[in-house]
Symmetry: C2
Subunit: 110 residues, 2 copies
DNA sequence: TCGATTGTCAAGTGAATACTTCAGTATCAA
DNA sequence: TTGATACTGAAGTATTCACTTGACAATCGA
């Protein structure tokens, strides 16, 4: 059951890991190579590449190889999916809370 | 290293699971008992309770026991933390994109 | 009171996850 | 061309995770 690239589940899973969030954080400051990205972390290059793959699959990062250097940048798609999901949920249950308030007001009136 | 209740990592982890998202979805429609919540799922009551614990710890749900029934509701705190995180990231890298646009415009002018 | 309902607790299992190591390959610079 | 750089790929490992089972406690309704 291969999830599509914009799958909200993938985005949540990707951002559930602290190292991956730190990578996103770093990518927010601008494009960087894989080894440049790995430098501040106390994990191997391989591990960073693995995280990067997950971030790409969830639409949170984009990478491009030129020569022997792979350049990484943020991708807004993943965040947009996330934003939309939250927006939907929030409106959903704020509507419900409003309805609840109405009912309470109604009972108060009786 | 006990993470505080508003820890963004917990929120992401909690929402990374499809069953937990479905639970949140259901809770959006109104309060419900644990067994009521478990009914549509093909997993045990115990598993649902475990999910519920994770949702509570991440500030996405709230439960209260009265008699033998534990009533579950959504909690907005977790979502708020999530919203804030996204807002911060987005402004961070939109500012960066603006700066990039400026530089490009500048070079264009030369 | 007694049986059914509703939830709790402890322990175990299989799969997924975040890592590692090691052995490559491709590219660049001198 | 040669050595260093920048990554890639496969395979293994320890831990975490979602879930189960089974035994139990508390509460409610008849």
């Amino acid at each position: 059951m291969a999830s599509p690239k914009g799958d909200i589940g993938r985005v949540f899973h990707a951002l559930g890991d602290p190292t991956r969030r730190a990578i996103v954080e770093r990518l927010s400051e601008g494009p960087i190579s894989v080894s440049g990205l790995a430098a501040p972390f106390s994990i191997t290059l391989t591990a960073v590449v693995q995280h990067l793959q997950i971030l790409e699959e969830s639409g949170l990062a984009r990478t491009e190889k030129s020569g022997r250097v792979r350049t990484c940048r943020i991708e807004t798609a993943g965040l947009s999916v996330l934003e939309q999901w939250i927006k939907d949920r929030r409106s959903l249950w704020e509507r419900r809370l409003d309805r609840l308030a109405e009912i309470l007001a109604e009972q108060e009136g009786k």
